[in-house]
Structures are given as C-alpha cells and as structure tokens.
C-alpha cells in the first residue's frame, strides 16, 4: 500500500465485491486490494513490490470485456486503470493520438473528430470501454472489414514490466522495422505480459459521407452467400453485418422494430467515403443484393437514416437476451469462403442441441457471434450448452478458423485454447510470458494456460 499510496487503495468489503465481475457474466474471487492507478511511477512501484511478494495483479479498464480478462482469479490486486484517462497529445499533422489507457474509446473519437479524424477500431462497447482494454484484447468491431482491428492502429507503447521496469516499443511512424515488433506482441496479450501505460495510436481521416442498406433474405444461406458476393463486388464496405433467422425473430418479438414478414435473415451493408462514391456504391450494392435474392431492401443515405438502419443491428443484444436467463456469447471467426458453410453448420448444431442459438455478427470479416441461450439455473443445461459451444469451436477450427475473433481468451475460453494452438506454439507463448513476467504475477490464469498446467495435462 505504501507503493501505491494509501489514498489510492480500497479494500472494504463493498469495494472488493465491485471488482469481481465484468460484462462476461462470469464472477470470480474478489481481489484483496483495489489500487487506483495514477501514474507510471506508481504502477512501477506496485508491480515491483507485487513481483517480490508474488501477489497477482489484474489490470482493469471499464470491465466491458466478454471473456473475463479483467477478473481476478486468484485474488491479489486489481489495478484500476480507468482514472488514467487523459489524452496526452492529439497531433493532427502526424495523425496520431497519444493516450493513457483509461481514455474511453468514445472520448478519443470525439477529440479526433474535432480535427476531422477518427480512430477506426469500433468495438460495440466503444461508448464505455477503455482504450487500454481495447488494446489488451485487440478489440475489433463492425468497421474491421474495411479498417482492420485495434492492432492495426497502434504505432507505439509505453509499458511497465512485472518487475517494475518501464520500456517503450515502436514509435510514432507508420513504418518502423527496428527490432522485433513488441508492440504487436503486447496488443492482445490480455494484460499478461506488461501493463500498458501510454499508447501512440494512428488516426484516419473522417469520411465525408456514409450510407447503409438493410437487406432481408428468404433464408440464412442466401444471406450468407450475398455476403460473399458483396466481398467480391469491388466495393469495400465499412461494415457488413449478418443476422440469422433466430436473431431476426428475437428482434421482431422483443424490440418493436419492423421486420418484413418473409424475412429469414438480414444483411446490413454500410459504405463510407466521398458523397459521389457512396451514392455510386450503394446503387451498385443494391442491385447486387437484389440479384442475390433479397426480398426487401431499405436504404439509408443521411447520417440520421443510417442511425435508424443500425437500430436493427443494435437491437440484437437486448432482444436476444430476452430469450433465456443466460447466454454463452462466442465470437468464432472463419475464413471468408467458409461463412455460408459455418452458418449452415451452426443451424444444424442448434437443431441437435435443443437450445435456441442466435448467430449474427461481422460476417464481412468472417467473425460470427454465436449466442447459445440456456437456463443457468439448471446444471444439466449448463453442461449441455458448453458442450454445444465446444462443437461450435471444433467446427470453426475444422474450417481453418479461430475460437475467438475479438473478445479474447480471458478466463472464459481458456479451457479451449489447446483445441486451436499446438503444443509447441503454446510452449513458445509460455516461454515469452516467463521472460517478461518471471514471477507470474500479471493476470494469472488468463490468455494462455500456465506452463505447469500444460505439463500436468500432457
């Protein structure tokens, strides 16, 4: 506590209970101590001290993660980064922003917009999630189909090692090949390698105009095929979202939004760019979607109309949640050519499992959210739901996909990582982790299995 400054420490029963959950719905052991991070020097002192004492440290942003990445599994310290929320520099000429990890994604968007710029990674939680969390999980979002994911916009980092030493990676330039790319290693490392205290982020020019099309299809298969046609059309959409039959039915029932009666699936295509190009591209895409058997298309040309068009997509979460008391929210990803097959496979699994499964998501980059709706008060349902989830993972891997596209492994998906990553790669990952954090204090039991656990299972 001396290392942290006692005024930044909280350890009452209430405080501890408040740091034992996140948006994953998982709930773990409460921490023993919550430390409010204030600056690099303090974090450095805290980590050095915890390394010496072997106390686990779990960094935490806004706790909007869906894989339990910020939950303390073995007690110890939760390092609350939310208060380090200053934008240190927003350099329009360099098109970069230098931020502290607690800055909320939306706050950066607002600050960048004042300079005609934006930060392309747009996780659904962007109004509340912190950039530190976005970096730790390498968050994606709908715009990934055109702009890529968080990692593509990180130029440099300042981070603190588990032993308290501070180091810098990368820099402020787009090209930079001096030494190993430790920036990319830290992004997506889920707080297991170092604590990021500053990031240099790349910004992009704010597009002049946007437009969106909501196209409804008679079957999930035709919709999934339409996704592929859009990807090959020569137009690069800024978002290409897909909603299956179960998801649309949930929206029609619970959201009050109008869904055409004969619609069994929906594809949302959004484009951005100059006013001329958006007009031309929407016209082209509209024709293409009609040819792909769309039964109904609504077109949004103004920002207000686009907001309206996105309402259907945004209604997914709240509507789907009403189907069952609990939900396993997966985020598998498959190669672009396998999207239609994966959607078919999921429908097949849903029929076999007896659970409602809602499949929707960022089809444009192959990233599908598979929500298994079940009753968590019945132990047999929990078991069966997770076994179905495992079959979904297996199917994605069979198609050369991945078990997580954007949520991260965290604690929730840890038991399944070995399905995807081979033992040699896993050992390499463990060696890297041991090198950076020899005492094993940083976010233990997250991201990758501990080395000794792997030995035990081997």
């Amino acid at each position: 506590m001396d290392a942290a400054g006692s005024e930044h420490c909280r350890f009452s029963e209430t405080d501890k209970a408040l740091y034992a959950y996140d948006a994953s719905g998982d709930s773990r052991t409460p921490p023993d101590l919550v430390i409010r991070a204030v600056d690099t020097a303090q974090i450095s002192r805290v980590l050095a001290c915890c390394s010496k004492l072997g106390v686990p440290v779990t960094p935490r942003g806004a706790a909007t993660g869906l894989s339990g990445g910020c939950l303390p599994v073995r007690g110890g310290v939760v390092l609350d980064m939310a208060g380090m929320n200053r934008i240190l520099d927003l350099h329009a000429a360099d098109m970069v922003a230098v931020v502290q990890p607690g800055v909320v994604n939306r706050a950066l968007q607002n600050a960048a917009a004042a300079h005609g710029l934006f930060f392309p990674p747009d996780p659904a939680s962007l109004d509340s999630s912190t950039l530190g969390g976005n970096l730790a999980e390498n968050a994606g979002g709908p715009k990934a189909v055109k702009y890529g994911v968080t990692r593509d916009y990180v130029l440099g980092l300042t981070a603190v090692l588990a032993d308290g030493r501070v180091f810098r990676t990368g820099g402020r330039t787009i090209k930079n090949v001096a030494g190993y790319d430790l920036t990319s290693l830290l992004v997506g490392s889920e707080g297991t390698l170092a604590v990021i205290v500053e990031a240099v982020l790349r910004l992009a020019p704010l597009p002049e105009s946007q437009a969106a099309l909501n196209a409804f299809f008679p079957s999930t298969y035709t919709a999934a095929k339409a996704v592929q046609k859009v990807l090959h059309s020569g137009v690069r959409p800024v978002a290409l979202e897909f909603l299956d039959t179960a998801t649309l039915a949930a929206i029609a029932e619970h959201s009050g939004l109008h869904i055409p009666q004969n619609a069994k699936a929906m594809v949302l295509v959004a484009v951005d760019g100059s006013p001329e190009s958006t007009v031309r591209h929407t016209a082209l895409l509209e024709t293409l979607l009609r040819e792909a058997e769309a039964v109904d298309i609504s077109r949004a040309d103004s920002p207000a109309a686009c907001e309206q068009a996105w309402k259907v997509r945004r209604a997914v979460g709240p509507s789907v949640r009403k189907l069952a008391p609990a939900c396993i929210a997966e985020d598998i990803v498959v190669p672009l050519g396998s999207i239609a097959d994966m959607v078919e496979k999921i429908q097949h699994l849903a029929k076999g499992s007896g659970f409602p499964i809602c499949c929707y998501g960022h089809a444009g980059d192959g990233n599908l959210h598979v929500n298994l709706m079940y009753d968590n008060t019945k132990p047999e349902d929990c078991k069966a739901a997770w076994s179905t989830a495992e079959q979904v993972f297996a199917a994605a891997l069979q198609m050369n996909g991945s078990i997580s596209g954007e949520h991260g492994i965290g604690s929730v998906k840890l038991p399944y990582l070995a399905m995807q990553v081979d033992p040699v790669t896993l050992e390499l990952m463990q060696k890297i982790r041991q090198t950076l954090d020899p005492a094993g204090i940083l976010n233990p039991s997250k991201g990758i299995p501990a080395a000794n656990a792997a030995e035990q299972s081997a």
Partner: protein, 421 residues
C-alpha cells in the same frame, strides 16, 4: 420495504442487465469519480451482492447509494431496460427505514417538511438565524472545511420573512375569458427567490388569470430522493388537492425538479387510488421554460445589462427539448453571446447529494465550473442561466460570490419587475 422484497426487486431489476457498462459511460458520478462504485452498474451489483449476503456493511452500502444523482441517465440509456434509478430510490428508502439515512435527514425530510406549521416556523427561524450562521462561517472559515455541506451557504440569498405564496393574492383576474394559469412555486422560489415568482406573475397577468394556491408546499422531491416516500406522498397529496381546487388550465413551475415531480413522478408515487386526479394535473403541468418557448410574445425581451449567458440545462429538463433549447433561442433573439457546457452535464446539485456526499457533489461540478470560468473569461456581465432551483442552489454555493445566476425568465423580464413591485 423489507429485506425479502428488496431481494426480489433487485433480482427482477437486474435480470436483463448484461453488465455492458453503457450506464457507466453516461453517469455524472462516474465521470467525476471513475471507480466502479461510482456508476449505476457498480451500485446495482453492490445491491445484488448485499441481497445475496456477500456484502454485510449496510452503512457503507447506504452511503454508496447516496452517491447517485438520481438523474435517470442510466435508465434512459440502458439497452436492456434496467430500471436502475427506481431501484436506487427504493434502496435509499430501504436503508432510511433501517435508520441509515442519518438523524438530520430523517428530522428534516420526514418530520419537518410534511408538517406545514413546523416547516413555516423553521423557515422563520432560518430567516432570523441565517445572518448568525453566515457570521459563524465567516468567523470560523474552517467550519466549511469540517462540514463540506456548509460550503457556500453564506452566498445563499437571505430567506424571506413571508414567502412568495403568502405575500401574493390567491387569484389575479386577467382579461375576460383568459385561460387560468396556476403557479406552483416550489420551496426555493417561495423562500429564497420570491422575485422570480413575482417576475412570472407580472409577465402573465396581462394575458391570463393567475392563481397562486395558498395550500401548496414542497413538491416532495427532497423527501422522495432522501428515502422517505411516505413524507413525499403526504406533500404530494396536499399539492394535488390545492391544484385541483384552483381549476387551472395550465400549471406552471419555475423549477425543473418540481416540474419533473409533478409531471412524471406523482402518478407512480400516489398509486392507482389517485390515478384520475394525478393524471389530470400531470397533463397540465408545464415548466416555465417550455411555456416561454411556446408563448414567446408573452415574454418580450427587455434590455439587459447581461451580455454573455452560460446555459446549464438541468437534468430534469434535458428530455424536454423545447424547454431545454429555449435559453439559447432567447440569447439569439436578444443578441447575447452564449454557450452550453458539455451536453447534458450535471452540476451535482440534485438528489440531496450536496448534503449527503458534499465532496462527490463538488467534484461533479468541477468540470462545469471550469467551463464557466473559461467562457466568462473575466467579463463582468456574464450570467449563468438555469431553470432548476436545485441547480440554482448548487451554482450559488460554488460560483464566485456575486456571479449572477438567473432563470431564463429573469434574463428577458427582470428589468420591468423592479418598477412594478
């Protein structure tokens, strides 16, 4: 409410919660205090941990519930329809029932406020005692440090010996056949800012019959926020009777919180038994700012010494678009320079937080205060404009002494009043 009913309420309210953190992103308390307990999500989960027996410290939890502006942004923005605000108010009532509201709050909100005789005597004592308190505060400036709730009390306007409602006639007849407008003044207009009420009467009386029901009192929102719904109900029933009796076409209130209470909280508070009466009055209640927006010719702008307006939209008016936009429209007609602070920002003055958690309240106001200072830029003719008396009290306590804090009505009509009264 007993422990079992709190438990089932918490379970019901939290069932649709996805823990997504949307409520956190728009919470004024969290913005000033970025720690989990600041946000609605944190408070909801603390309540859940409490009813599940994982938190035992009731006093700490009661104090955590005090750190909420009850502004309702969390409830409005929640994608899953979690009714956080209602639950927080119920939780405050639950803890008050178990004696955790504090003796002063209990005395003031449950005993003093609903009793019109006692309240009148208290105000009279305040009228006499305020100079003594001010002198004490000046003499022992450390007093405000030890009791942060006392910060800026010496800047408050002097209480009046007779309230606005008492000194006004019950009815001022307007032109023949003119619509009847009742004024619901609220405590601050009655006892601290009677000139605001008088300005309103003056502007209205040439066009309308103006009624000032004598038996009106506090709207009840302090009691409801403080965890004493029964006291709030007593007050509300008295107001309802007073407003029904005057057979008005419109009920105007010069305070956004009173408007909110009468228009949006009354029905739920009084229950089905008074559905017809409450709905009748709620439909007639209108905030003065909205009335001004819809009846601009009634409020012609007089020349003003004020040149710059810093507009603070009260939490309780933010959903009334016409009312919320009126001060800016007024500034444009009058050719005044104006600015809003960050959209929807809270001043920290509501839900008794300045009394219950003065440090939290002051921290919430820190950013708005900085914005104001930057806009004012040392100009002497800059005023803060707000149409809520809770906000008025907060800004009065925290802004530099002498800064004009005006209701929009006073921006355009204040000069004429001095000549008429």
């Amino acid at each position: 409410m007993n422990a079992e009913s709190l438990r089932s309420r918490v379970e019901d309210v939290l069932r649709p919660c996805a823990g997504c953190g949307t409520c956190q992103s728009i919470c004024p308390v969290y913005a000033a205090h970025p720690w989990e307990g600041g946000s609605a999500r944190g408070k909801l989960h603390a309540l859940r941990a409490f009813v599940h027996g994982n938190i035992h410290d009731e006093v700490a939890l009661a104090r955590l519930m005090d750190e909420c502006m009850l502004c309702g942004r969390c409830t409005d923005q929640c994608p899953n329809g979690v009714e956080a605000k209602a639950l927080f108010r119920e939780a405050r009532a639950f803890f008050a029932q178990r004696g955790h509201a504090g003796k002063i709050a209990e005395l003031a909100l449950e005993r003093l406020l609903p009793s019109s005789g006692l309240f009148r005597s208290f105000m009279a004592a305040g009228f006499a005692g305020k100079p003594v308190l001010d002198a004490l505060l000046r003499q022992f400036s450390g007093l405000a440090l030890r009791f942060p709730a006392l910060t800026g009390v010496e800047r408050m306007p002097k209480l009046v010996a007779r309230s606005f409602v008492e000194r006004m006639p019950t009815e001022l007849a307007g032109p023949k056949g003119a619509p009847r407008i009742a004024i619901f003044a609220g405590c601050v207009t009655s006892w601290l800012r009677p000139s605001l009420g008088e300005t309103l009467v003056h502007a209205l009386q040439r066009h309308y019959t103006v009624i000032i029901p004598k038996t009106q009192g506090c709207c009840g929102i302090p009691a409801l926020s403080g965890g004493f719904p029964h006291a709030a109900k007593v007050l509300m029933l008295r107001n309802l009777a007073a407003l029904l009796a005057c057979k008005a076409d419109v009920v105007l209130t010069p305070c956004a919180s009173c408007t909110h209470m009468l228009a949006h909280e009354m029905q739920a508070l009084l229950g089905e038994e008074f559905d017809n009466e409450a709905n009748d009055i709620a439909a007639k209640v209108m905030d003065v700012t909205r009335f001004m927006a819809e009846n601009r010719p009634v409020f012609p702008a007089a020349p003003s010494s004020i040149k710059k307006l810093f507009i603070h939209t009260p939490c309780h008016l933010r959903k009334d678009v016409a009312g919320a936009n009126m001060p800016a429209a007024l500034a444009e007609t009058m050719g005044l320079e104006y600015a809003h602070h960050a959209p929807g920002q809270c001043c920290g003055g509501g839900a008794l937080v300045p009394m219950l958690q003065p440090v939290v309240s002051a921290n919430i106001c820190a950013a708005p205060l900085r914005d104001f200072a930057a806009f004012k830029n040392d100009s002497a003719d800059c005023a803060l404009v707000t149409s809520c008396n809770g906000c008025f009290v907060q800004w009065t306590r925290l802004l530099p002494a002498g800064t004009p804090i005006l209701h929009p009505l006073e921006v355009c009509c204040s000069n004429r009043v001095k000549t008429c009264l």
